[in-house]
Structures are given as C-alpha cells and as structure tokens.
Symmetry: C2
Subunit: 412 residues, 2 copies
C-alpha cells in the first residue's frame, strides 16, 4: 500500500518540509510555553505507540493539548491582545483566545460583593447583586464583537491576527437591559443612558435610550460559563453590533439621562478627524467586513494545487447576505459559499474552492450585509474620510501569494 | 435612594442568606481549588474598590476568574466526567467542561506523528498526516453529543450533572468523511466502515456506510480551537446525532468493510437485554430528550415569586420543534419558548416564565422533534423494554420543589 502523498494526483503536496505552514499551532515554531498546561512540556516526546500506554483519567476542568501553541498577542503596553483568527476554526472564538482591550488593566472583582446601580431619570432606582440579576429572565445570543480600532490607522500587520485580531465571536448570555430599565421605570424626557465600569479607568460611554431598550444585554455568561475577567467579569454591557468599547465591562452603574455625557471615551478617543476639521463622533455601528483567514499573511502554501479559501464576514447592522472572493486581484468576483447558520451580528464562515496554478496572485474577499451595505475598497474610504481617521477600518483586505507560496499583506 | 431588595414588590427576595443558592459557582461552598488559576486563591479578598487598583495586563491565553468553581465530576474510576449543565448558560458547552468518557484513559499524542489510515475495500488506500487532512475542504457545525449511557440504569443522581451530565454541545470542525472515502474510492460490495482509536482500548465501532457517506465528520476542531485531548486530539470521528461512543476518538484507522465487525464495544457493551432474551444492538440514534436545568436538583429557591424555568432539549434525529413544561406534576402542559437559533442535532435552550406560590410542586419538561417523536415517560420505557436496560435513557425528568424551596430529583 502506498501513502497518500506518493500515490495520488498532485492534489496534496504538503511534504515534511513545508507542511508545518499548514498545521495549526503545533508546527508553528512558536516556542512560548503553554500557560495552561500542567502536563510535561512539548519538548518531551509522546509515546511511540499510544495504544501501549494507559491514558490519564478524567479531570474536573479540561486543558488543551501540550502540543498546542496558539496564543493571543498582547500589545507592548498590555492594553489589548488579538485573536489568532488565522488559526481558528468555525465561528465560535474560545473564551481563552477572545480578543481583549482595556484602558486600565483587568480588575480583580469578587462577584459576591459586586453591585449594579441603575439610577438617574428613573422612578425606582435599583441596586442589584449578581444573585438578583440572575433571577431575571435571560437570553443567549451568538454575537461578534469588534474593537472600533481594529486595523487602526492602517499600520499593516503581517498576519490576520496582527492586522485585524481585535474581533471575535462568542455566545453571550444576560438580561435584556430593557427589562431592567422597565423595572426601574424610565422617566419622561430621558433619551440616553451612561454606562460606567468598575475598572481603574472607570470606562464610561453614553448610549441612546432607543438602543438600550432594543437589544442590549447586561451579560454575565460567555460561551456557556461565566464571563472571563478580561471580558468584564462578573457583568458587562453587550451592545450588539456596536463598537466593542461601548460594551462597558465590569459594569457597575447605568444612569438614565437626557443627553450624551461627552465622556473622555467619546471625545478624546473613539472619534475621527475629517478633512473639514469636524470629527465623526458616536460612530456606533460596526461596518460590514470580511477577511480571508486562509490563506493569509504569514502562512505558506506548499505548492500549486487545490485549496479551500476560507474566511469570516460580519456586519454590525445584521446578517451577512453575500461574500464574494477574487483570486485575480479584484478583476473577477465570484460568490463564496456561506456556511450555516448565518446569524445576524455574528461571524459568518465562508468557503471557496480554488486551484492555484503557482503564479503570484492577490486574494480578496468582499461582503454585503442584509441592508445591501458593501465592504468598500481603501481608496474610497480615504477619499471620503481623508488621512487622519483610523476607527472603523473595514476595507477589502488583500493577501498576496508569491510564486514560492508565501503569503503577504497586500494592503500594508 | 433605596435598594432593590427593600423597595420593590416581592419579585426578588434573594437576601444574603439564601442568595448563594442562585449564584452560579462563586457561592456554592465548593472549596475545591481552581486548577486553571495562576492568580491567588479565592480566599484572598478582592480590593474593596476595584477602581482604585490598576488591573492586570493582557494575557496570551485567558483563564477564568479565581472565584469560579464550576467543575466536571469525574467518576470514581476516572473513566468519565459529567458537564455541570445546571450551572451553564446558552447552548455552547465550553471545551473545559465538555463531558468526557474514555475506556482506557486519555492518550498523549503528538499531532506531528499521528497518521490516519483509510483502507479495506477501497481502490486507493490513504495514510494522512494532520497537515494533509487539513488541506481538504472542511465544515463546522454546532452539534450536541450524548453518551448512550447518560442516566444509565436510572440510578438517580442529585443534580442534573449527576443524573444526566454526559451530554454537551459544541461547534465541531472537520472534513466530511464522504470526501475522504471518495478520494479513497469505495469498492462495490462495501456496506460498513470500522473506526479505530489509538487509545489503549483501541476503541472500535462499526458504522453503516450510508451514515458514513452522509454527515459524518473527521473532526479536528472544537469550539474554534483544536480538539481537547479528552475529546480525541488530534482527530476524532464525529457521527452527528449518534451515540457518543461511536464518535471514535484519537482516530487512527478507518477500514471499509462489508459487514459490522461485532467488536467488544457493540456486543458486550452498548447493547440492552430485552425481556424476551434478545438484545437491542446498534441503537445508533440518540432519542429526543429534554431537561429543566433551572430549577433543578440540589438548587434552592429563595422563596415564592417569579422564576424563569430554563432548560435544554435535543434529538439525534434532527431539530427540536416543541418543548412543553408542566408545573403541576404533569396534569397541564404549556409550550415553552424556544430560543433561536434552533439548530438540528444541537442543544435548544427553552424558557418558561413561572410564578411559584410556595407550595410543593413537580416541574417537568417534554420535547418533540421535527419527526414528531416525543420524549416518553419512564413507565412507557419500562413497559417496552423491561428492567434490564440502561442505554438511551430519555424519559421525562421531574424535579420536586419542596415548600422550603429545596429541589430534588423526582425520578430517583
């Protein structure tokens, strides 16, 4: 019997030398230790024949294999870390790899002592313990979240993770904010809420009451278990489809007010200076965006042949309706297959079969959401917004595949 | 301003004394150490005012809060561990808490050295590396998996986890087995496959070729990242809707054959002796089942008032169409709300608003799948199968709420 590599048409050519570029994690050459592993280091060999060695018994809380090395990439200041989207499968981001962004680090909060205050223009101010919050009816939804600064200022980035890693997708569980506000009794004349976190930055954002009464969650669950500390443990706001920073973490206070409060986070930050000297402010919704995650920057194709191009698309305005892929630098666009379920305000995985002939090529994806909004090219964004903006960076991303199979950021 | 607890109608009565029964994890009194945490133990107090203390920086691979204590419950022999469904939110089970079941422990496998052999009645036998497997087009699906012995022999169990914890739901990613078999070229006369694991039990099951060519995955991804070791790292079979044991883990071999191989795992195990002396064998599909996860055994309601009853339903035959709830011991059944998305062969979360008057009551749920199959009562199963069966235990589960708010297994 011959092996697959030697007896078949050149469908697969990933020999020992280049296969590592395709193997997620284990062959990446990243020697960082696995901080989760209580098992021996990957330098220790596994048994030659695992069937001859009794395995380890069941454990109370699982860990990943000692051979897995995929990690988030903390920024030099430690204020954010990007998700390794190029190494992940499906649409769910595991909580341990969900991107982080915080303004004063991750606080240490005892859920038994945490309180949520709802006050301001309400008839019945409330102070809720976590127990009390969890008494309310709840809802779970699979939603993406993206930092409005994802891809900020077009600084390039070698990989998907470096260029666009501040976006992830998880199942979030919490209480509808509308229910809590109804319990408190919103007064005539109220038009906004101000949400405040209990981190050392006291992160604060203003949110229109129309959104607050629509689909906002006061969330305590993420992918089945409690929120992770870097995601706001024990409770955060989740504002579906809007800038990540508005989903105020470590939520301790919601004040019902009559106007936006013009906090630091909505004046000196999270605004974009336009060519006419005015600033875009309260750019709440995240725009339609898609990324090819394979093949993408930093990866290497082992040779000509068949590949499945795969990637992610999302829109803060609803469901993705269409993703097109170009394998010739943008001349011809063809529809990719959308993997079900296609959920509103969630990652949609797309796939596109491609036969690479070995010539240099630029691969791109372009998505359209249910409202007909189309992911733009960078030139159109620059024409509209000038050169001083950085938030809401959603242009079509190209990846250049060179003749040697290496893949580079074509937008950098 | 008054607090919620003191100024409102008796909607919420979870005072300091009893609130702990509702707080997931942190107040459970379970003093087991958090095996994931590199932070100080929960015995160390958190800061009185987190806004006055700089937080910790971003990390490469996240961990849960040091205050979280939810764990799987390994069996005394260490051969399985149950998911704490009563403490989880939504439909996704985090991989660290996904149930385990293995027959000779979890093997230690280096993915770079692992191979998958496809042989037998095929034209072109294949040996695939993990790199080669990942070159194929892939698919991701959210599917439940249930051990056919979940609830085995009706031994009771105090909590959902103890009684029914061997079921979980995750997003699985892999290559369609039909694609691999097509590459290998299945020969005339083949009717089954035999799948073999590389654990010390060489776990082996026969699967009809019709199922193998339908929706079976050769899976390497779980909830976005690589399979966990206890879930078959680096690769397992995933047979949607069928007994968990058929989803052979640590998959090393698929042999295409003409008949079932009557392996140990389908003769001495995973069969049920019927009253007439014959045995039910190859009972592949998992039957429709639902569980109320709140309120459920071991929990305690703080007092009369409003509660949202919540639970999970699933069927190996497709999508859940209906879940009914009875709050009077089975006399009246009312439709629960099904939370979207309702996906085939996946957990469906149901919810039902309930005002408890403080009297003793039995709560039950009953599901119906898209084929009209209805979850039975235990008496009907015993009438049909006698007293010696244990697999495929899916009767309606009741939870008795006593006047003091304590909840007990009404089926035990």
């Amino acid at each position: 019997m011959k092996t697959r590599s030697s007896n078949r048409r050149d469908f697969l050519k990933s020999g020992a030398g280049v296969g590592g570029a395709l193997l997620v994690g284990a062959d990446s050459g990243n020697a960082a230790p696995n901080p989760q592993s209580a098992q021996p280091d990957a330098a220790q060999p596994a048994p030659d024949d695992p069937t001859k060695v009794p395995g380890v018994p069941a454990r109370p809380y699982g860990e990943r294999s000692r051979f897995e090395r995929i990690l988030r990439t903390p920024s030099p200041q430690g204020t954010s870390s990007g998700t390794p989207l190029q190494d992940l499968t499906g649409i769910i981001t595991p909580s341990s790899l969900h991107f982080e962004r915080h303004h004063a680090g991750v606080p240490d909060i005892d859920p038994r002592r945490h309180r949520l205050l709802i006050h301001g223009m309400v008839d019945r101010p409330l102070i809720l313990t976590m127990d009390e919050l969890k008494r309310f009816p709840s809802v779970s939804r699979i939603y993406f979240m993206e930092c409005s600064g994802n891809g900020y200022r077009r600084k390039g980035g070698r990989t998907v993770q470096e260029a666009h890693g501040l976006v992830s997708c998880a199942e979030w569980t919490g209480v509808a904010l509308s229910l809590l506000l109804s319990e408190a009794g919103v007064q005539q004349g109220a038009g906004w809420i101000v949400a405040e976190g209990s981190d050392a930055a006291k992160m604060t954002r203003s949110i229109p009451l129309t959104k607050a009464m629509n689909d906002v969650l006061v969330a305590y669950g993420q992918n089945g278990e409690a929120l992770r500390p870097e995601q706001g443990y024990p409770v955060r706001l989740f504002v579906p489809g809007w800038e990540g920073n508005i989903c105020v973490k470590w939520l301790r206070r919601i004040k019902v007010v009559d106007q936006p409060y013009m906090t630091r986070e909505e004046t000196s930050k999270y605004t974009d200076l336009m060519p006419d000297g005015k600033a875009r402010q309260f750019t709440f919704e995240m725009d339609p965006k898609s990324l090819i995650t394979f093949p993408s920057g930093g990866q290497k194709l082992p040779g000509p042949g068949f590949y499945e191009i795969s990637g992610l698309a999302w829109s803060g305005r609803g469901a993705i309706r269409r993703v097109e892929v170009s394998v010739d630098g943008g001349r011809i666009w063809q529809d990719a297959r959308l993997q079900s379920p296609v959920l509103p305000i969630a990652f949609t995985r797309f796939r596109f079969g491609w036969k690479w002939d070995g010539a240099e090529v630029v691969l791109q994806s372009r998505c359209t959401d249910e409202h007909g909004d189309v992911q733009p090219v960078l030139e159109d964004l620059v024409r509209a917004r000038g050169e001083n903006w950085g938030y809401h960076f959603n242009p079509i991303q190209g990846w250049k595949v060179s003749a040697d199979g290496s893949v580079q950021n074509a937008l950098a």
